[in-house]
């Protein structure tokens, strides 16, 4: 077991080395230059060159890559060119808004999607079914940014019920934080609720055609007891899997929502960093994300080995 653990852990090193190299080369090989952006439109080439020298950007790419390796192994992701702070600090600061948004949106997606799927399946072919599935179709089709802007116009500008944009930490002011999060969570969650609704409906339909459901009905149980007590619990497993996938999709989709609703999360951080070629931030965010995926996979592999002793490496 210990040998397996060490083997798997060592295998992570080349994976991370490849990730570090690919990320570094990708961002450096696309055209654009952080210094030209930083020094403004009227800066002269001589000024630009001097600042490139000061930041070490005039050095050959392999030298810059080597310096990047040496920093990463020491746990230092470098300093942002624009934000005047270490990249790791910037990432930690932005993690909370993204996580809060993602979980809130997931809550919305599940709260809308699962009941809609159950009702549609329980009333298959009815007006309810058609209406809910039409809603799901719309949810899949409507672009997130369009929905967001319309939510802002309706609920903030016209009705004045909620703030148009912004963010407050739950730790600072939970009520204000909640008010700021309603519209972003709704617009991000609504799209994903469509997917959950459709999956819930098909899983429920499959469950409702099982023998045990027929038996339950034959026993004289009420429709409510059959749907919720028997079919729903069995349909839940694939739905939970989809909810897990949705979580990953939401983290990606949060980028647009963060920009429209002005939420200072990781999505906005990486988009700004790409646009202004803040190399250390782009490298840092991608690296941390990749590392998280690798570590999760490693943990799952190790868990498999723990649960089933027959699983061994090679």
């Amino acid at each position: 077991m210990a040998a397996y653990f060490v083997q798997r852990l060592l295998a992570v090193i080349p994976v991370m080395a490849v990730v570090v190299t690919v990320v570094f080369l990708l961002i450096h090989l696309i055209p654009g230059d952080p210094v030209s952006v930083m020094l403004g439109p009227d800066a002269s080439p001589a000024q630009i060159e001097a600042t490139r020298r000061a930041l070490g950007l005039d050095r050959p790419l392999h030298e810059q890559l080597f310096r990047f390796y040496s920093r990463v192994v020491r746990g230092d992701l470098g300093q942002s060119y624009f934000l005047d702070r270490p990249v790791l600090t910037a990432i930690v600061e932005r993690a909370e808004p993204t996580l809060v948004l993602t979980f809130s949106a997931l809550l919305v997606a599940v709260a809308i999607g699962v009941p809609a799927g159950i009702v549609a399946a329980a009333h298959r072919g009815s007006a309810w079914d058609r209406l809910l599935m039409l809603g799901a179709l719309l949810g899949v089709c409507i672009p997130g940014f369009w929905l967001s802007l319309n939510f802002i116009y309706l609920f903030a500008v016209r009705l004045g019920w909620l703030p148009a944009a912004g963010y407050t930490s739950i730790m600072v002011d939970p009520v204000a934080a909640g008010r700021y999060m309603v519209l972003p969570a709704l617009s991000l969650g609504f799209n994903q609720s469509a997917l959950i609704a459709r999956i819930s409906r098909s899983c429920m339909l499959e469950a409702l055609h099982q023998d045990y459901v027929r038996t339950a009905r034959a026993k004289g149980l009420s429709q409510r007891a059959v749907v919720y007590g028997h079919a729903f619990r069995n349909a839940l497993v694939p739905v939970v899997t989809v909810v897990g996938i949705t979580m990953a999709i939401l983290i990606g989709g949060a980028v647009v929502t963060e920009i429209v609703f002005n939420i200072p999360g990781l999505g906005r951080l990486i988009i700004s960093a790409i646009l202004r070629r803040d190399y250390p931030v782009v490298q840092g965010v991608v690296l941390i994300t990749a590392a998280a995926y690798v570590m999760i996979n490693l943990t799952i592999d190790l868990l498999y080995a723990f649960i089933d002793p027959r699983i061994r490496y090679g």
Binding site: I30, P31, G32, D33, P34, S36, V37, M38, L39, G40, P41, D42, A43, S44, P45, A46, Q47, I48, A50, T51, R53, A54, Y81, F82, L83, D84, R85, A90, R94, L149, I152, Y153, A156, V157, G160, P163, A164, A165, G166, Y167, I259, V260, F261, N262, P264, R268, L269, S272, L275, R276, R277
Partner: protein, 520 residues
């Protein structure tokens, strides 16, 4: 009895009314409140010497001050300087500094701070470098006197010290010497009416009133004169999505929104709580030719481009059909820079002459080789005018390869003469003829024409205002003959503020919030 209105009674009544009004007006300008300003994004630095970025200019002018500033006519007026004298031969400038001016860290500003700051500025800023090319020596004569000895007579000393962009901000000596010119300052201590309290990237920059600020005695005047910080705090909030900035000023989550899309104008105008502001000057649109290598080194080809253009439809389209947002003008300085605005007739601007363009193309020996025209969609107006230009030019026989890239790529590639023939950008306000960067050999596009360079050098030396104007008119005529860049029309910007914001000066190119207060 019929009341008799005598002259005396009118005077008494008027005095009474004035007496009543003065305290009301004084009361109206109350201190307090937080002004939330939505702008496009984060500044790359809060070091005024270091970058020409306009967002840095806007922010840093609240924290720092220079020796001079610009008045309402965009002419230099003293700010941290009390005044200056010039020796008879014009080679020595002696500046007297104001006394008792405190930095935000409590230290009193003196000549050592000025010398250290301007030395740093002279090595980094585009305006500082131009000025210090003419300075033989700068030294502190005493605690409050600084002397400049020039190599030759110069017309640009005061204006260079007064420009608001990339400006000669005075930092404490310790900070100016701690950060080399090419490394941006990260300790923000100035003498301005607001001091930096907190900077949370992508969330806000908080500036609070500097209670020890010593204002000049004059009335507010352009960027200068007396400055009063009525607001407790200015909170600069980066809101990258323009539709969100519009919505937030409508809902009152922002008191001020800068840099808005023109298509929001009609909607905002209908809102009784919002006041729209047409910001002038903003940019004149420009296509910059690569004159170092490639097709556009051919002057005939550049002239053909100029002759073919019908500028008004382009401007109208870029301004979203709103005539309030563009102006047709051939002067290289906008109307607002009245000192340098020219009204010359007979210039080959907006000629709309297809026959002339075709003839020039033939004379240029042009064989429909694709011309690489670089633009970006990050600034919609740039993309729009590039697209319309392409259509007009192809009508007369040009072949335009429109290359749409992101802004970061454009600003990188424009420094490499092998990568393009033309690029789009905008020209903001230049307060002196010598500051027009597109007429210099060092800026992308590389204007190395001897005639243009000669006149620029003369403009830098000549100190007689009338002679300078004559030279500038000559330069303008030469510009339209040699066509280093194409001057389109003036485009204006859109800003919006809540009607509770009072005292805002909408006549300056960039926003300033000293002398601004909030109505309770």
């Amino acid at each position: 009895m019929v009341p008799v209105i005598t002259r005396r009674s009118i005077v008494v009544a008027a005095a009474f009314l004035v007496g009543m009004l003065v305290p009301v007006l004084a009361f109206a300008q109350t201190k307090g409140g937080v002004l939330r300003v939505g702008n496009l994004g984060e500044p790359p630095a809060l070091d005024a010497h270091w970058t020409t970025a306009s967002i840095t200019e806007t922010l840093t002018n609240h924290i720092y001050e220079g020796l001079y500033s610009l008045d309402a006519s965009n002419r230099p007026i003293p700010m941290l300087a009390e005044g200056h004298t010039v020796s008879k031969d014009g080679l020595t400038y002696t500046f007297k500094l104001r006394q008792g001016i405190k930095f935000h860290n409590g230290k009193e500003m003196g000549s050592d701070d000025v010398v250290a700051s301007l030395t740093r500025w002279g090595k980094q800023s585009i305006y500082g470098k131009a000025l210090f090319a003419q300075v033989a020596e700068m030294r502190a004569l005493d605690r409050y006197t600084v002397e400049f000895k020039l190599k030759e007579k110069s017309a640009i000393v005061l204006i260079s010290l007064a420009v608001p962009n990339n400006f000669g901000a005075i930092y404490p000596k310790e900070i100016a010497e701690k950060f080399p010119p090419e490394v941006k300052v990260t300790e923000y201590v100035g003498t301005g009416p607001f001091r930096l309290a907190e900077w949370k990237p992508d969330q806000y920059i908080r500036m609070v009133r500097f209670d020890d600020y010593k204002s000049r005695g004059e009335k507010p005047n352009g960027y200068g004169g007396g400055k009063t910080a009525y607001l407790d705090e200015i909170r600069w909030i980066p809101v990258p999505e323009v539709a969100t900035r519009v919505a937030q000023v409508e809902t009152g989550e922002l008191e001020f929104a800068d840099d808005l899309n023109l298509d929001a104008y009609d909607r905002l105008k209908k809102n009784p709580h919002v006041q729209t502001i047409v910001s002038k000057p903003y940019y004149w649109l420009v296509a910059v030719f690569n004159k170092k290598e490639g097709l556009m080194t051919n002057q005939k080809l550049r002239q053909a481009w100029q002759a073919a253009l019908d500028i008004e439809p382009i401007m109208k389209n870029v301004a979203g059909g709103h005539s309030e947002f563009y102006r047709m003008d051939s002067s290289l300085a906008p109307v607002e820079i009245s000192t340098w605005h020219t009204k010359l007739g007979g210039l080959p601007w907006n000629e709309r002459n297809k026959d002339k363009a075709k003839r020039l193309l033939q004379e240029a020996g042009y064989k429909r080789e694709p011309i690489r025209f670089m633009t970006t969609q990050e600034y919609k107006w740039m993309y729009d005018f590039a697209l319309l230009t392409k259509q007009q030019l192809e009508d007369v026989g040009f072949s335009i390869d429109l290359q749409v890239v992101d802004w970061a790529t454009l600003v990188k590639r424009r420094n490499n003469s092998k990568e393009y023939d033309v690029f789009t950008t905008g020209m903001g306000a230049f307060y002196d003829p010598t500051h027009h960067i597109y007429l210099t050999p060092s800026w992308p596009g590389w204007t190395t024409d001897e005639g243009i360079a000669k006149l620029q050098a003369e403009l830098a030396r000549e100190t007689d205002p009338k002679k300078r104007m004559a030279l500038w008119e000559q330069q303008t005529r030469q510009f339209y003959e040699k066509v280093p860049v194409i001057r389109y029309g003036d485009l204006f910007g859109l800003r919006a503020m809540r009607t509770t914001v009072k005292g805002f000066n909408d006549k300056t190119e960039r926003i300033r919030f000293y002398n601004v207060w909030l109505e309770k």
